[in-house]
């Protein structure tokens, strides 16, 4: 039988069905393309634009249509965010809903989108053209989702590598905390130097501390000092005993001899007065008052031994060569009284009496303590003769912001497995994560941890060209020599003052051009008997008991070296100019912030004795442009004319107190 030579009907039916199916599926493809999410958004935007703009403005508005993108050629970054975020640069969309709202703040002015794009600051996948793939929320296979508000400053820090970038407050705080906590002692971290770490030298600690104090300190430093810088290493009881023995056996440099001191005559009340006069509170805290540069002394009597303290005040550099503590010119009797005040008045009433003696003579325990010391990397912060760190004990954090964390690393913690969460937990409770951790607990508060997390997230391996990166200007340590250098070292001027960008930040007065700012006679007398010029500031220049020769040496040196030639100009003015200057002083409202005599405000320095204190050239240049000399100053820049500057300067130079009256 011959098969029929025409196709059977089922084939025609199948053909019809498949053709319809093909038509349908291909229409679906076409529809999917023409109703793409971004096209719908743009249509919505055009509708809103017609509502918020008047017809004239509408005619002038830029035409919206098609995919828009910003291409940053130098880093080959493509951001298509503006395909949907169409109103970012248009103030008419202040109240529009996202994605059309105007960008907040002045960020688009400081970071123009054509130079910075969007995702450098915000994160997210800039190439995407729909909400989901743009990684507004975390999405698979895109490591950098849009940063939520609480983490966005991490992206500031990728380019802004200076310690405290302006307007990135959380980032700045986090970086300060990283520096203060000494993270760089154990971890490599860009932008932080191990030289910043301040921890006592321990080679002679056996002479310094009491055994019972060491125990409680090692168990939890916060019980002795709520603000203790040293973190809690979660040590076992046996480890504490071993460490105690090891530390108390460290006796390299004996304290200075105090055998001639008659302790029975010690006058702690006199010591208290000396403690106040010397302005120790500028750096040290006692009962929640005072500075943070040095250790809190509220309960120092329960911590240190009397003889060691006597030696330390007499010569702080004797066993702590790197200390920031200055060397006062106290007599032995004065030191005895200060020590008596510190060791009898400032004690911990709860400190155990007659604590068991540490077995520091047991060589086995000392050896075990040394092992514990090494195991926990104590030498990372504490200098210790014979133990120099070869490599950092903790992992490098040079690109910690790029780290990818996986679910198993969180152990039993049930949180979203993001790097931010991982860092947060690691800092809050280092032992809560899957991996066993030797990292100590820092007892950061929640906001503190949040700032540190932001700062750590900013440490990214971003191969941005140097032109996009800002750094703190590098400073070389200022190390003057000779007689002046010896005095700078003895009085630790650089613990508080800055010269050439290096030094402490406690003082508001950098010394780079101090010789051109202050009159020599004033400086000599101020060094010997410093009286506050800024009465509103708690920290005061200490009373060093400096000799007149020393003050003269310093004044001569700064007058010759720490000068600025642009300030050294002759100044002449008549009384008429001074009168006009006085009127100007009133008119500008200077008295709102400055005191003259008994009246005026407390914000700025006291101007009563300006005629004896400041150089006229400095006043004139300072008033012309205060912010160029001191970027953060509150002094307003009035944009004064040259004559006004001269008149105002002339008036200020007439201001003197009668005691040292030079002018009538």
């Amino acid at each position: 039988m011959r098969a029929p030579q025409t196709a059977p009907p089922w084939m025609h039916l199948a053909f019809a069905a498949l053709s319809v199916a093909f038509l349908a599926i291909f229409s679906w493809v076409l529809l999917q393309e023409s109703f793409a999410e971004w096209r719908t958004r743009q249509a919505e935007f055009l509708a809103i634009e017609r509502q918020v703009k008047d017809p004239h403005a509408l005619a002038l508005a830029a035409h919206v249509g098609g995919i828009r993108q910003i291409w940053l050629r130098d880093i080959d970054l493509v951001d298509r965010c503006t395909t949907c975020h169409l109103g970012t640069d248009d103030p008419d969309f202040q109240v529009a809903k996202q994605p059309f709202a105007t960008h907040s703040g002045t960020w688009l002015t400081t970071h123009p989108p054509d130079r910075f794009g969007c995702t450098i600051c915000h994160g997210g996948q800039g190439e995407a053209t729909n909400y989901r793939d743009a990684a507004h929320q975390p999405v698979a296979y895109w490591p950098e989702p849009v940063r939520p508000r609480e983490l966005i400053e991490a992206n500031c820090g990728v380019c802004h590598r200076e310690r405290a970038p302006a307007e990135a407050f959380l980032l700045a705080e986090g970086r300060q905390r990283i520096a203060a906590a000494g993270c760089v002692a154990c971890h490599d971290l860009p932008g932080f130097s191990p030289d910043e770490i301040q921890a006592p030298h321990l080679s002679s600690v056996g002479y310094k501390v009491r055994p019972d104090w060491v125990r409680s300190w090692l168990a939890d430093p916060k019980t002795y000092l709520p603000r203790a810088r040293m973190p809690n290493f979660r040590l076992q009881k046996q480890e504490i005993e071993d460490l105690n023995a090891f530390l108390l056996s460290q006796r390299e440099t004996a304290p200075l001899d105090s055998s001639g001191v008659d302790w029975s005559k010690a006058d702690s009340e006199h010591g208290r007065i000396l403690f106040g006069e010397a302005r120790c509170l500028s750096c040290h805290m006692v009962d929640d008052r005072g500075g943070l540069l040095g250790p809190d002394l509220s309960r120092v009597g329960s911590k240190v031994r009397r003889d060691w303290l006597f030696s330390f005040i007499k010569d702080p550099m004797h066993d702590q060569p790197d200390t920031r503590m200055l060397r006062y010119r106290f007599s032995d009797v004065e030191i005895r009284d200060v020590v008596a005040y510190l060791t009898t008045d400032l004690v911990d009433p709860e400190a155990p009496e007659n604590a068991p003696a540490a077995g520091y003579l047991d060589p086995k325990q000392v050896a075990a303590g040394r092992d514990t010391f090494v195991k926990h990397g104590c030498f990372s912060c504490h200098r210790f003769n014979g133990l120099t760190p070869t490599a950092k004990i903790g992992p490098s954090l040079m690109a910690v912001g790029n780290r990818v964390v996986e679910r198993p690393e969180f152990g039993s913690m049930n949180v979203v497995p993001t790097l931010a969460n991982w860092l947060y937990l690691k800092l809050r409770q280092p032992d809560s994560l899957a991996e066993e951790s030797r990292m100590p607990t820092f007892n950061f508060t929640e906001p503190e941890v949040a700032s540190v997390v932001v700062a750590l997230l900013s440490v990214r391996k971003a191969d941005f060209p140097a032109s996009r990166v800002t750094r703190a200007p590098s400073s070389t340590p200022y190390t003057p020599q000779g007689a002046f250098g010896a005095l700078v070292s003895r009085y630790r001027c650089l613990s508080c003052h800055q010269v050439g960008g290096s030094g402490g930040t406690l003082s508001t007065v950098p010394l780079d051009r101090i010789g051109s700012q202050l009159q020599r006679s004033y400086l000599v007398s101020y060094l010997q008997n410093p009286s506050a010029v800024r009465v509103s500031i708690e920290e005061r220049m200490p009373f060093f008991h400096m000799t007149p020769q020393e003050a003269a040496t310093i004044a001569d040196y700064v007058g010759a070296v720490l000068v600025d030639d642009s300030l050294e100009r002759p100044f002449t003015a008549d009384t008429e100019a001074a009168r006009r200057g006085e009127q100007l002083y009133r008119r500008l409202g200077c008295h709102g912030c400055h005191i003259i005599g008994a009246s005026g405000g407390y914000v700025g320095p006291d101007l009563s004795d300006t005629g004896h204190r400041l150089e006229a050239g400095w006043i004139e240049r300072w008033l012309a442009a205060p912010q160029t000399w001191k970027p953060a100053t509150l002094q307003p820049d009035y944009g004064l004319k040259a004559e006004d500057l001269r008149d105002l300067t002339a008036y200020l130079m007439t201001l003197t107190t009668s005691a040292r009256g030079r002018n009538p």
């Binding site: 498949l18 199916a21 093909f22 599926i25 053209t129 729909n130 793939d133």
Partner: protein
């Protein structure tokens, strides 16, 4: 002659210069249409009804060919947007995904068709084995088919690297490491393939050229040979009829071509027919075969569109040579081998794949018995079917284990617990 008549005549003449037979209404015209067309002449004018049965071939060979067609069309379209350099390749993917019109559908279709082609070719091979299709005189076409299977894997493997994401980079790292296990030549072969010792811009360019030029040309050539042999030897014989070539085969001679008739056979049959069956029992290829081919093409295209619209092709993070995923897996069709490599690098990487290829090539020569052709699981070939069945099942099971049941550090995991 009016102008209208002139135009009409010119059009008609012009039409007939292209389509010489016109719409065929008689068997003679149908045969003439098949033979006079360059494209249709790949078919014979008549086909056996048995070979049209869906349950006999499942159209697997044709499906494989359609996948190749779809892959060629979408692949050429993708080439317009793709740059084979590590800096630009991943960006190309993102552009295809987000800004190129129809980009996602094109890429999805290319990806899924590539996977489907591997499956279709494998199943086609199984079908041919279980119906005894490799037997005399089709032994060599089986060997060509084995070559096409290997090239299909090669095309898929070289394409795998091109997106330059983590998935691509590490799958190729693992895959090329398997190649490196071969004693003696392994490292050199790997070096030749990668253009270096690690996967970098050189490897990407080599894979691109292999994927877009060398392997496609080779596959098209082999497909032409494959089709030519099918055209000459016909599809394997229907059941219930002993092959006409048995006598010649027994004598050890090579049989004359089974499909050497054409129009002449219809018009004037020779006194001594060399054909294996009566052409009268066959049906015209037009429309029975062509129509089915068209339906299958439509079905394949519709199915691929549906899959492409429902499932996006994977694209992970940018390739990062410093971050190894755990586990790093080869493309899925090599995961059976990777599973074996897990036990022994030499066995999984060299011995087993080498033996498999050798055995496959030798199959038609190791099994010379001409019986049991043209029927599924012929009882006359029970042993051969068992052997191949076990091979196929083991391959599938090992691949499934490697794909679904292996987690970090290649430890056993249950897919539903992940």
């Amino acid at each position: 002659m009016t102008a209208r008549a002139y135009v009409r005549q010119t059009l008609e003449t012009g039409w007939r210069t292209v389509f010489r037979v016109g719409w065929p209404r008689t068997d003679k015209d149908r045969s003439a249409a098949m033979i006079s067309s360059f494209f249709l002449h790949v078919h014979s004018a008549k086909v056996k009804p048995n070979s049209l049965r869906a349950a006999y071939t499942f159209g697997l060979g044709l499906i494989s060919f359609y996948m190749l067609l779809v892959l060629t069309v979408t692949g050429v379209a993708l080439m317009l947007y793709y740059t084979p350099s590590p800096d630009a390749a991943y960006r190309s993917m993102k552009d295809l995904q987000f800004v190129v019109t129809f980009g996602p559908v094109l890429r999805n279709m290319h990806r899924w068709a590539a996977h489907a082609m591997v499956v279709a070719v494998f199943l086609h091979m199984c079908r041919v084995f279980f119906t005894g299709g490799y037997k005399l005189p089709r032994q060599f076409n089986w060997v060509v088919g084995v070559g096409l299977l290997i090239m299909t894997l090669g095309l898929s493997f070289t394409g795998y690297l091109l997106p330059w994401d983590q998935l691509a980079f590490w799958a190729i790292t693992v895959g090329s490491n398997i190649a490196g296990y071969a004693p003696g030549v392994g490292e050199s072969a790997k070096y030749l393939l990668l253009g270096g010792t690690v996967i970098g811009s050189g490897a990407l360019l080599r894979f691109y050229v292999l994927h877009c030029v060398i392997l496609p040309v080779a596959v098209v050539t082999l497909v032409a040979v494959h089709f030519f042999r099918v055209r000459k030897d016909g599809l394997s014989a229907p059941p219930g009829r002993a092959p006409a070539t048995t006598a010649e085969a027994a004598k050890g001679g090579f049989p004359p071509s089974a499909r050497s008739y054409g129009l002449m056979a219809l018009a004037d049959r020779p006194a001594q027919p060399v054909v294996e069956s009566d052409p009268d029992e066959e049906v015209m290829a037009w429309p029975h075969l062509l129509y089915r081919e068209l339906l299958l093409l439509l079905a394949v295209v519709v199915a691929l569109h549906v899959v492409a619209l429902l499932f996006n092709a994977p694209l992970e993070e940018l390739a990062n040579p410093t971050r190894t995923p755990n586990p790093a897996k080869a493309p899925w069709y090599f995961l059976g081998l990777q599973e074996l490599v897990h036990y022994s690098a030499f066995i999984g990487g060299v011995l087993v794949p080498g033996l498999i290829v050798l055995a496959l090539v030798l199959v038609p020569y190791l099994d010379p018995s001409p019986r049991g052709v043209g029927v599924w699981f012929s009882p006359e070939r029970r042993r051969a079917n068992w052997i191949f069945g076990v091979f196929a099942v083991v391959t599938i099971v090992l691949t499934l284990i490697g794909t679904l049941f292996r987690g970090p550090n290649w430890a056993w995991v249950w897919p539903w617990t992940g």
